[in-house]
């Protein structure tokens, strides 16, 4: 199994969710995150003081998939997340030893 993590622009969530559902993914986890990459932050003005806000809001999407689906799924996520502008985010993939469905105790791919 693989864990695919995507840190992307918050407003792309619905697109990505729909693309994943179309692909056949049954579940995912979304966390609100903040960070910066090459785009750095942005400037905000409060009573004339200009603040550089370098942590911009992002969402972190995590999906567990079977090994064979991983590459294709990464493409699906990247395609749905892309706006072409700076700050679109990152997607990465790591191997996972095991997974357990809490309710039934099923393990491995059966737990997905």
């Amino acid at each position: 199994m693989k864990l695919i993590t995507a840190v992307v622009k918050p407003h792309r969530l619905d697109e990505i969710k729909e693309a994943l559902q179309a692909f056949g993914v049954h579940g995912l986890t979304v966390t609100e995150a903040s960070g910066y990459g090459r785009q750095r932050g942005h400037t905000e003005v409060y009573r004339g003081a200009e603040y550089t806000v370098d942590l911009v809001p992002k969402i972190r999407i995590e999906v567990l998939v079977e090994d064979d689906d991983a590459e294709q799924l990464i493409e699906v996520v990247v395609k749905a997340a892309r706006t072409g502008k700076i700050g679109d985010g990152k997607v990465w993939c790591v191997p996972v030893d095991t997974a357990v469905r809490v309710r039934t105790g099923e393990r491995g791919p059966d737990a997905l």
């Binding site: 905000e44 003005v45 409060y46 009573r47 004339g48 200009e50 603040y51 806000v53």
Partner: protein
């Protein structure tokens, strides 16, 4: 109150309309203090929200009690030398009759006392905005006691008390440009010169954590301010209260627009904080002046105040003093602008026949009076407040430790957290599968003690 010798035919009678109006105005002014708490509370970072709210809210408790005990007497008792009032009947508000009228007016003394009380409550609260994130709550509470006693009550007497020197000189301060706003703004400057800057001032971005809260606070202030301003005429037997009400709206609108225009040109955006701040700057500036200027004059006063305050809030970064939420930039500057502009825009057709430079015989007389009032209140409040802060700093200590300040003052001083949006934890559903603990062994009892999270 001294037994006024009035000819029976001239003695005012109680007006139910004026009394009812003034009771409502008192409630409106009361609402300004929580409004101010929200205005300030939204502007600080999450970790000191509660402290900011409490610094205003506590004033409702402390000053109310002081006012009954001796505050009303010092501010509005029989004059002594133009500087202080004092009257045995006013102490504890105990010698006042239910039907006794405020001297020369058609409302009971009780109504006048409670209306003025609300002013005394909000004025120390205004100072707190400059002291965000870093002042011990007990030290602040003590400061409120001392400041109200040494600064507010006497200054209110100067400006509004019969026999007070500024009142007798003819300084025009309709609803508190000097006594409330310059007074609080100068006090804020005095205190921060003693206690210093927040940790990370000018280095860390200190973004307001909730601009909607700021907007809500500004809106409540605006609403309450109609009572503050129009009520200060103490009745509606003529149109002066209505003129003040109208001008309050007009100047506030103009000031908000001026602030936003300045921001748009200077920084490229019309900000919510700018709109809220501009509105408050306009409210401050029209407070001393709205009973003496025309509606067009109110537009000018509001616009000038909005522009100058928008420029003034940047000064703290240039001079390096940490007026955290711009009490000086908005209240001191706005109060000075409004008080001084009376000397230009007084038409002579409002609260009195005194005219400013632009009207009547184009004399500077009223302007000099205004400057005298402004200068005296500013200097006295600045010095007295700095001395009081220094006294408390040398004894109790004004500031929390640096660790507490950085971690957030709410937890250390109030033992609370402003927001808990976390859904984690708190599941109390009994789990059938969990083994029942044997509660009688000492080990099990010790374990239960450790797991216990509520001591109530």
């Amino acid at each position: 109150m001294p037994p006024g010798i009035t000819i029976a035919a001239d003695a005012p009678e109680l007006s139910a309309a004026n009394t009812g109006f003034m009771l409502i105005c008192s409630a409106l002014v009361m609402l300004m203090t929580p409004g101010l708490a929200f205005f300030y509370g939204g502007m600080v970072r999450v970790k000191s929200t509660l402290n900011m709210l409490m610094m205003s809210f506590i004033s409702l408790g402390i000053v109310t009690v002081l006012w009954v005990l001796y505050g009303f007497s010092v501010a509005f008792g029989t004059d002594h030398g133009g500087l202080l009032g004092w009257d045995g009947d006013h102490v504890g508000l105990s010698g006042l009759g239910v039907n006794q009228l405020w001297d020369g007016y058609t409302i009971p003394v009780y109504v006048f006392a409670v209306f003025q009380l609300m002013f005394a409550v909000i004025t120390p609260a205004l100072i707190s905005g400059a002291l965000a994130d870093r002042v011990k709550f007990t030290a602040w509470a003590l400061f409120v006691v001392l400041w109200a006693t040494v600064v507010y009550f006497p200054v209110a007497h100067w400006v509004w008390g019969a026999g007070g020197w500024a009142f007798e000189l003819g300084v025009i301060d309709f609803a508190g440009g000097t006594a409330v706003h310059i007074n609080a703004g100068a006090a804020a400057l005095g205190v921060i010169l003693v206690i210093g800057k927040r940790v990370g001032f000018k280095k860390d971005p200190m973004r307001p954590h909730s601009l909607p809260l700021v907007m809500l606070g500004a809106a409540l202030l605006w609403f309450g301010w109609f009572g503050f301003n129009a009520g200060s005429w103490l009745g509606n037997d003529d149109g002066v209260g209505a003129l003040m009400f109208l001008n309050t709206q007009v100047a506030t609108a103009a000031a908000m627009l001026a602030w936003l225009l300045y921001e748009k040109i200077r920084h490229g955006a019309c900000t919510t904080l700018g709109a809220a701040s501009g509105a408050v700057a306009g409210l401050v500036a029209i407070t001393p002046s709205g009973g003496s200027c025309s509606p067009l004059g109110a537009i000018a006063i509001g616009a000038i105040a909005g522009l100058l305050c928008a420029m003034a809030v940047g000064l703290k970064f240039r001079f390096g003093y940490d007026d955290s939420l711009d009490v000086i930039g908005v209240h001191l500057v706005g109060g000075v602008v409004g008080s001084v502009l009376v000397g230009f825009f007084a038409t002579g057709g409002g609260q009195s026949d005194a005219t400013g430079l632009f009207y009547g015989d184009h004399s500077l007389t009223q302007l000099w009076k205004q400057l005298a009032g402004v200068g005296a209140v500013l200097a006295y409040s600045l010095i007295a407040s700095a001395v009081l802060a220094l006294l408390i700093d040398k004894t109790l200590g004004m500031r929390v430790s640096e660790d507490v300040e950085v971690a957030g003052i709410d937890q250390a001083e109030h033992a609370e957290t402003a927001y808990d949006f976390s859904g984690a934890g708190g599941g109390t559903a009994p789990r059938a599968a969990a083994p029942a603990p044997a509660a009688d062994t000492p080990q099990a009892q010790a374990q239960a003690q450790r797991n216990k999270k509520v001591d109530a």
